[in-house]
């Protein structure tokens, strides 16, 4: 059985201008030990999806789901107390901004042990012992000394490592990493990705990796879901999705990335014209059709999410025709 099953998840945010459909009809499942990457541009609803799973949405946002089950617990109806017992303990989150995700008033050791002492009855010494182990595990030298330091004494990369160690403190079943490398520079990004990949093989960690960076995703993910305007437009095993992208949006995204050896020097990189549609109010047809080079009249109708291969689904009525043309 999958660790996390999400079916037809919608998140609506009531604004004075109307209802903003931040997430509409998202379905996915994550097996144990698997890494699912959710990819999409800013505003595509990927962060909202992860917050909806944790039930940490802003107050104005409303969540509906046909099925939202985490390891046998129905999150859609779980009371807040039950959710609190799960958060941090069974499902943990790594945030995007390591510079602001740590409380400046407490030492690293204090914050690391907080989650553990919140959920388990362990003594200070035992909690600190575990904190030191995990800090060493995430590659922080002189871990014992770091415990007594404040967040501003650490660099961005170190802070993100601390955040990862913090997420691991209770040994959670599921880790949601919301753009964990976005705020870091490229060399540190690579180190953090290596670390996540190592931790995954070492602990058999299940992870949802949220990112807009396909390069990051290709290195870590087993399965990929591409989101556009609050919908999953294509999902499948990472290999098959990167090798044979079916949705015009996925193709566009892949064309934007220069590949060493394959992209000839001097050739312009691909770009997707236009911008994300307004998500306020009811919507009809494919959300991408206004920016799509292959749009046809039938794109304004209902778009089903259909199989496009083994473990590969796409939400595009033109996918078949496109495949034939290519």
């Amino acid at each position: 059985m999958a660790l996390l099953e999400v079916e037809n998840l919608t998140v609506d945010i009531g604004l004075s201008a109307g209802v903003l459909h931040a997430v509409s009809g998202v379905s996915f499942s994550v097996e144990r030990g698997e890494t699912l990457a959710i990819v999409g541009e800013s505003g595509s609803g990927k962060s909202m999806t992860s917050l909806a799973v944790m039930n940490l949405l802003p107050k104005r946002a409303e969540r509906h789901a046909d099925r939202l089950v985490f390891d046998g617990v129905d999150l859609a109806v779980a009371p807040e107390a039950r959710m609190r017992a799960l958060r941090g303990n069974r499902m943990a989150m790594i945030f995007q901004e390591p510079m602001t995700s740590l409380n400046p008033s407490y030492t690293i050791g204090n914050q690391l042990t907080e989650a553990l002492r919140c959920h388990r009855s362990v003594g200070i010494a035992a909690a600190r012992e575990r904190a030191v182990q995990l800090l060493e595990k995430v590659g922080i030298p002189a871990a014992l000394r770091r415990l007594n330091q404040y967040p501003h004494q650490l660099s961005g990369g170190l802070r993100q490592r601390v955040m990862i160690a913090m997420a691991l403190m209770c040994g959670p079943d599921l880790i949601i990493a919301d753009e964990p490398t976005t705020a870091l520079d490229v060399t540190i990004q690579a180190q953090i990705l290596h670390l996540l990949a190592d931790l995954k093989t070492e602990f058999g960690m299940t992870m949802i990796l949220i990112s807009h960076d396909l390069g990051v995703v290709a290195r870590v993910a087993d399965r990929v879901a591409v989101m556009y305007a609050g919908q999953v437009v294509e999902s499948g095993a990472a290999r098959s999705l990167f090798r044979t992208p079916r949705h015009p949006y996925t193709r566009g995204l892949l064309n934007c990335i220069p590949v060493p050896g394959r992209t000839a020097p001097g050739t312009p990189l691909g770009a997707i014209p236009g911008q994300l549609p307004n998500l306020i109010g009811p919507r009809h047809g494919c959300a991408f059709r206004e920016r799509c080079a292959f749009a046809a009249p039938e794109c304004a109708g209902e778009i089903p999410f259909v199989a496009a291969g083994p473990d590969h689904h796409v939400r595009c009525v033109r996918a078949g025709a496109l495949e034939a043309a290519a």
Partner: protein, 308 residues
């Protein structure tokens, strides 16, 4: 081949590790920074001196502050040509020793300042933090309460309560405590709004912290430096208000030796014996200045960005 036996150095580092794990270091860095802050040191020395004098009042005071002697009324202080060492700061219109009254008066001022800030700080912080964290309707209702409070003049309320139950030390503390929380509420509300938006509060929710825990251990420590500044300002404010109320006859009643009351009683001798009004006024200025210096210094020293 067996594994090498642990050497003495290994055992020692292991022991050190155990000690470091069990005892998180605290305090020493804060102390070092505090001693480097001249304003805090100056204010702190003054404040500690005044507190010490207040605590040791029965030991220090040369005379009974309530003992009247009309034959020795209005003796000038020692620096005056007619002063004598029997009464270092002279006597008041009823012949009571002025130094003794000043020393006992410090107790009243500090007691009122501390208790008032404790009461009003608790009320104001609770209101401000709730309004700032929960927002929406809670914020609207609490902000309305704050606005209502701001519309009430403190002296008027004190006047009414003095008329109802009579002026007394307890009365002043309760009235000021229940009235001076507005600045606490306003400052903690906006500080809380800022902190509540930060990622580490979201992170705390993501590790399963309860709302109460977030309010107490994530938000409160981060608004503490704003709170300290307001608390010291309000303490000085409360001490001055007590003096004002006592001056008007609505606060502490004679024969208690309140500094405000001493100023009030001295006002009729202002032209011929200016020290009767000057001495308690100078004491009041010193106390308020000391408290404000300490407040400013504490804010500088405890601000998280100043930690090293």
């Amino acid at each position: 081949m067996t594994a090498p036996a642990p050497t003495g150095i290994d055992a020692a580092t292991d022991a050190l590790r155990q000690v470091m794990l069990a005892t998180p270091r605290r305090g020493s860095a804060l102390l070092r920074r505090s001693l480097g802050h001249s304003g805090l040191v100056a204010g702190g020395v003054m404040l500690v001196a005044i507190v010490a004098v207040a605590l040791a009042a029965p030991l220090i005071a040369p005379h009974d502050p309530y003992n009247q002697d009309l034959a020795r009324r209005l003796i000038p202080p020692i620096w005056h040509a007619k002063g004598n060492w029997e009464h270092v700061l002279g006597t008041d219109k009823l012949g009571r020793d002025y130094l003794s009254r000043l020393v006992f008066g410090a107790r009243i001022s500090l007691l009122i300042g501390t208790l008032t800030v404790l009461i009003s700080g608790t009320i104001g912080t609770a209101i401000g933090v709730c309004a700032g964290y929960f927002g929406g309707r809670v914020d609207a209702v609490l902000s309305y309460v704050v606005t209502t409070r701001l519309a009430l003049p403190v002296v008027l309320v004190a006047l009414a309560s003095a008329a109802l139950v009579g002026g007394s030390l307890q009365g002043v503390i309760v009235v000021l405590g229940l009235l001076l929380w507005d600045r606490f509420a306003v400052v903690t509300r906006s500080a809380t709004q800022q902190i509540a938006r930060t990622d580490y509060v979201a992170a705390a929710r993501a590790i399963g912290c309860s709302t109460l825990r977030i309010l107490l251990s994530e938000i409160l420590p981060n608004i503490l430096n704003a709170l300290i500044v307001v608390a010291t300002l309000e303490m000085a404010h409360a001490i001055l208000l007590e003096a004002a109320l006592s001056f008007l006859g609505l606060g502490v009643q004679p024969p208690l030796p309140s500094w405000g009351l001493m100023i009030s009683e001295g006002k009729q001798y202002m032209f011929f014996s200016p020290w009767v009004i000057g001495i308690p006024a100078a004491a009041l200025v010193c106390l308020v200045l000391a408290i404000n210096l300490v407040g400013d210094g504490l804010r500088d020293v405890t601000a998280p960005e100043n930690r090293d």
